[in-house]
């Protein structure tokens, strides 16, 4: 596909998620955590939000998840401004946009069985009841490579990587279009990290899932996301195709990030 064609294709589809000149400041603090951020997430074009601590990555993610309201600008879902009080729209939104967290230890309720954890979006969004949820849960668990009997066990019986698989099963059980992931592999060991990256790539490929990933790990970003936005102190300093942004950085901050990645010898 030539770059021209690709650009045209980009323009014709309505973005699933869109941030339009969004800013957020917390009460009592003068400087905004996020300022003048405009981003678009189109189906099939996974987006990485790259930056270091204090860059505002997590705040952006909360805005994209409808967990926080911007102090300026608009968050749009399927072209409509996201209204956190509009129950009907929020239900559609939650069904279409799910999330995986960084820490697989605190993201699973220790007192619930895995089956109930994975079924939660189905039950809460009214997609299935206790009986009809079971086969969907089993399917979701199988999809992420966990044994069927996992549903009867508790989170503590699983390793970090397996827990992250459970979290991914929960986030994909209601067949969302967008998966927001907050540093989904940074708490995992290297060998496990590769496997979870593979799983996410597979879900992208086979289920047409679009990823929006917050990460500081450029190799993971390069493995999974077509597009990259680089954040520094609450603002986007550079965004575009990942190959271009990371391969030929235009902004000195991006260059510094790329150069800082430790490489294996040889």
């Amino acid at each position: 596909m030539t770059p021209v064609l690709e650009t045209r294709a980009l323009e014709t589809t309505t973005p699933v998620l869109e941030l339009d000149d969004v800013a957020l400041s917390y009460r009592g603090s003068a400087a905004p955590v996020v300022r003048d951020v405009s981003l678009t997430v189109r189906a099939g074009h996974s987006l990485a939000l790259v930056g270091e601590s204090g860059a505002g990555k997590t705040t952006l993610l909360r805005l994209l998840l409808g967990l926080a309201r911007p102090t300026a600008g608009t968050v749009r879902f399927d072209g409509e401004p996201l209204a956190l009080r509009d129950r009907e729209q929020m239900r559609r939104f939650r069904r279409g946009v799910q999330c995986v967290f960084q820490d697989p230890y605190s993201s699973l309720d220790p007192r619930r069985r895995v089956g109930a954890i994975v079924a939660e979006p189905l039950r809460s969004l009214g997609i299935a009841d206790r009986r009809t949820a079971a086969p969907k849960v089993a399917e979701a668990l199988e999809r992420v490579g966990l044994p069927a009997d996992a549903a009867r066990r508790y989170p503590h019986e699983f390793s970090g990587g397996q827990r992250q698989r459970i979290a991914i099963a929960r986030a994909t059980v209601c067949e969302p279009r967008v998966l927001l992931a907050d540093e989904p592999v940074s708490a995992l060991d290297v060998t496990t990290r590769v496997k979870i990256v593979d799983l996410l790539a597979e879900l992208k490929q086979e289920r047409g899932l679009t990823l929006v990933m917050v990460s500081h790990d450029l190799s993971v970003v390069a493995s999974l996301c077509e597009r990259t936005a680089v954040l520094e102190r609450g603002g986007v300093v550079e965004q575009g195709d990942t190959a271009r942004v990371l391969g030929d950085p235009a902004h000195p901050y991006t260059r510094r990030l790329v150069d800082s990645v430790p490489r294996l010898p040889g």
């Binding site: 409808g66 967990l67 939650r94 799910q98 967290f101 929960r170």
Partner: protein, 284 residues
């Protein structure tokens, strides 16, 4: 790298806590006395047929008081009143405390400030004064004492619940529940309460012991259950003058009180070990 408590360690640990068993035996004995007193007593509460201040004997196991009433009978009714006072106060404290605690954990801005100030005042307010106010407004009954003790304790429970709930709310699984579309009431019922439960139960067990002591104190001062129902506190008060000549009247309720409080505290310790082990294993 990370240190976590794994509930697996809990599950694999041998499932017997000697403290818990010892506590259950002690508290159970008193509870048994209390239960039996409901259906059978050696003598009627106002039976003054025995001699005055007799020592322990076959027909009066613990002897009699200065009016000739059977001390063992009094000790049994006292057990019942103590257990009722403990349970009643803890119920009041739990109902009000958990509600206020959860509310204040969610409250923000002025509501948060108001609730915190209210709890602080309630904690600082002397239980004795509260009891006197309630007795003045109603009458000196066991119910008044229980209400006073429960109210005072509810502030302590509320503060604890507030901290516990805030800690749970900061966990990612709460955010995950929100992004799953779960409503706040269901998050509280399904995630928050089950996760604060173990710590809360241990604390309520401790509050039970404190409530029993407080009730004894109040009835010693005449602010508890009215005669002829003997409570341990009033037995102590009545036996005070004749302690040197007839110590059984003071020793019996005193020892029972100590046994019950120790028993309940042991139960609390045992529960802590089984539900929420402080000795946490490290993941290497």
């Amino acid at each position: 790298m990370k240190r976590r408590t794994s509930p697996a360690d809990r599950a694999n640990r041998p499932n017997r806590s000697y403290t818990l068993i010892a506590g259950c035996v002690l508290a159970g004995l008193i509870a048994l006395l209390a239960l039996v007193s409901l259906v059978w007593l050696p003598y009627a509460a106002d039976d003054t047929s025995g001699g005055r201040l007799t020592g322990p004997a076959a027909d009066h196991l613990l002897g009699t008081d200065k009016l000739g009433r059977d001390l063992f009978t009094q000790a049994m009714t006292g057990s019942r009143i103590a257990v009722e006072a403990g349970l009643g106060s803890v119920l009041v404290a739990a109902a009000i405390g958990v509600t206020l605690g959860v509310l204040s954990a969610f409250a923000q801005g002025w509501l948060d400030d108001t609730l915190s100030a209210f709890l602080d005042i309630l904690i600082a307010f002397p239980t004795l004064l509260l009891a006197m106010l309630i007795v003045a407004a109603r009458s000196a009954t066991l119910g008044s004492a229980v209400l006073a003790i429960g109210l005072a304790q509810s502030a302590v429970v509320a503060r604890l619940v507030r901290i516990l709930v805030k800690r749970v709310l900061a966990q990612d699984y709460i955010t995950a529940a929100r992004t799953s579309g779960t409503s706040w009431p269901r998050i509280v019922a399904g995630h928050v309460l089950p996760n604060i439960w173990p710590t809360l139960v241990v604390n309520l067990a401790l509050q039970f012991g404190l409530a029993v002591l407080a009730e004894a104190g109040l009835s010693y001062l005449g602010l508890g259950a009215p005669p002829p129902n003997a409570s341990w506190g009033r037995m102590l008060q009545e036996a005070q003058a004749t302690f040197t000549t007839a110590p059984a009247g003071a020793l019996a309720p005193g020892i029972l009180l100590v046994l019950l409080v120790i028993g309940v505290n042991l139960v609390a310790d045992g529960l802590r070990d089984t539900l929420d082990p402080a000795t946490r294993r490290r993941r290497a």
